[in-house]
Assembly symmetry: C2
Homo-oligomer: 412 residues x 2
């Protein structure tokens, strides 16, 4: 096989079954956006929905909108739209609050029903949301112990004293993906429960929580789901566990009969009990619009394209002779990673700044990682080709301007 | 004094120093909106701000907006705008999450540093958010005891075993207002701390938390602040207490150095530590626009008008001879109530439905209360006059159609 040309990429775009999806997005013309793993792009559907909810509903119908326009049901309505994307039953998903808050909700409720077990296990080196929130819980409840272990030690750490394991399915740096069904099985064998953080998976990687009999999940909606900056997050509880989980963040809207205004909390059935305060309706509107883009799509098609784009990126980086300076920090086997790639570079921060100034938007994670995300709905194969051309350019320029020696000086 | 005419009300509107503020709001022409105590109206400033943040910032600048457009600072930026409305120092207020979640944040953090004291006291019959959340906390931490007492028994219930008192300043039903400075003093004398829920006060009642040396406060921004349905809420911690309060909802963005991605949580200083997950930027944008309307206004002017409108409403109800059927369920002395009025009526639900069908929007609270809110920024004196005319009409119609006997049948 010869070198891959831009024309080859154009042909791949013509054959791409998802190519028409790009038109659903409002994308800046001077940008190649490889950061959809951090903040997904704006869809026209989201923009229209927000405008409608704000002006016509809030502005025009005011308080009546809670019933008239179904605002009160938004957490369940949007949960039902996310359910097929994670392999959940329709009523087992709720959209509410942030990933951090939802994680606390589940972990604290699980703590209430933990029996004699006292240990929570989570991964050291994971994105900090999860360990920080669990540290807060362990700081409040005296006999809960949080154990943070290395990725490879999780299996052997789960024991008869463990009531909960919290793992992020796709790692925020390396994109390394846990084998969700087999880890779930292993945790269950020890009599513990597992909470999966799907923030870097949902909308890019096929998931089947029900088939894996996963206990709990949370995830964010502003990455591959394009729900908007700080979009409300989702939470999932396996159906047969729902009535056993008593909320700690027992809010008014999670009450069995909120409009009775009783003095004593009595949880609603199902996922509704995990509603807490009043949902931010404008943020829900944006997510609602964004999710409409996923209707009728198969997660497999999204995954196939995501893999194709990331494989293309790796091949072009290697073909451009950048492999010596840009060390792949993600699994080389696409089946073992999510939808982004990390590359280590000794002066990664400077290099990413240069890429951004040229319109190639990725991000940098300390100490030395460049991250590039491959959102399958709006990226074309030619975007990848163009991005790597600019990357080659900037690595060459970095070399020529003595970047390497500057970087070495900076760390001494 | 003779009867108050509509012309009298027109003259009052001409003399109203706040009359020009109404133009800042997009109000439906066929509605008299007396429910701003539940959901404030849409300002043009909020609509413009959301449009700008959504299309130009999210759509155009994507991930760069976090720094370029100050998204990352929104919780502090909006906190600084709310501070003068509640008598707080600029940096002592944070906007984040919902009132329920913020209440949990403060109560749980206070529980961590409570020493030997174990009791939380709150009002029985308050809006359920507060007792429910505190019940959740007490359900998780074995040695915390929640005591719910009647309004008049609060003073004598606070004792040397109490670490926290949680009260809502203005009652959601009666609008009865606690004397914030004197209750705060009383709680402090017992060595306890007080958390004020200002949801029904902020934006309508002058507040001076700093002068009262109040310890903590939370409140919602979608009522008199017009921040939009489910707008992010605020939280306040008195300056000298901030470093003593260790978060339980210890989220990534509350870390001292979030972008170091360390394994162990270390709280940021000041209010920043109470940030948790990623803020919903579109919801913040609406609130940002709504708060711009308050710039340069004195809370006293808002309070004066709110009192004038509610007094007018009471006088007109009495003059219309409705006093026998509509029993005022709020304090008659305006200084003892917030910015809404409740009236008991034996068939309140039906009556409110009829009012709503005629374009007079209040709300109903079980078992028999009609609530009317007086948002001083966008209501005119003639609106009050027209509303009471329709109210008179509908009470008469209710009588004539045998409403009273139907209502009696319904409860037997």
């Amino acid at each position: 096989m010869g070198a891959i040309s831009r024309q080859d990429c154009e042909r791949l775009d013509v054959d791409d079954p998802l190519s028409s999806m790009r038109a659903a997005f409002q994308l800046p013309s001077d940008t190649i956006y490889l950061d959809g793993n951090s903040l997904g792009a704006l869809t026209y559907a989201a923009a229209h929905r927000v405008q409608e909810v704000m002006t016509r509903q809030w502005g025009g119908d005011l308080i009546k909108s809670w019933n008239l326009h179904g605002w009160i049901d938004l957490p369940a309505t949007l949960g039902r739209r996310i359910a097929p994307l994670i392999g959940a039953l329709a009523d087992d998903v709720l959209v509410a609050d942030s990933t951090s808050v939802n994680l606390f909700k589940i972990a604290s409720a699980a703590a209430r029903s933990r029996g004699a077990r006292r240990k929570i296990i989570t991964e050291r080196g994971n994105f900090p949301t999860d360990p920080y929130i669990l540290q807060g819980l362990a700081g409040l409840v005296p006999d809960i112990e949080l154990v943070q272990v290395a990725r490879d030690d999780i299996g052997r750490s789960v024991d008869e004293n463990t009531f909960l394991v919290v793992l992020t399915h796709v790692h925020y740096q390396s994109a390394e993906m846990f084998d969700l069904p087999s880890i779930t099985r292993l945790v269950h064998q020890a009599g513990a429960k597992i909470l999966w953080d799907l923030s870097h998976s949902v909308g890019a990687v096929p998931l089947d929580l029900a088939a894996a009999r996963a206990d709990f999940a949370v995830g964010c909606c502003y990455k591959y789901l394009n729900g908007g900056p700080g979009a409300p997050a989702f939470m999932y509880v396996r159906h047969d566990l729902q009535e056993t989980l008593e909320p700690v963040l027992s809010g008014w809207l999670g009450h069995a009969r909120p409009f009775d205004f009783q003095d004593d909390y009595s949880p609603a059935s199902g996922m509704t009990r995990h509603r807490c305060g009043t949902p931010p309706v404008l943020a829900f509107a944006a997510l609602d619009g964004a999710l409409s883009v996923f209707e009728g799509l198969e997660m497999k098609a999204l995954r196939d394209k995501s893999v194709a784009l990331s494989e293309l990126f790796i091949q072009l980086v290697e073909a451009a002779g950048l492999g010596t300076e840009l060390a792949l920090a993600s699994p080389r086997n696409a089946m073992q990673r999510g939808s982004h790639l990390s590359f280590a570079h000794e002066d990664g921060y400077t290099l990413m700044q240069r890429l951004i100034s040229r319109g190639v938007i990725g991000d940098f994670r300390a100490p030395n990682l460049l991250r590039f995300g491959f959102a399958p709905l709006y990226l074309r194969h030619v975007d990848i080709w163009d991005a790597v051309e600019i990357l080659r350019d900037e690595v060459r320029r970095w070399r020529e301007t003595g970047g390497a020696s500057i970087a070495r000086m900076a760390v001494t």
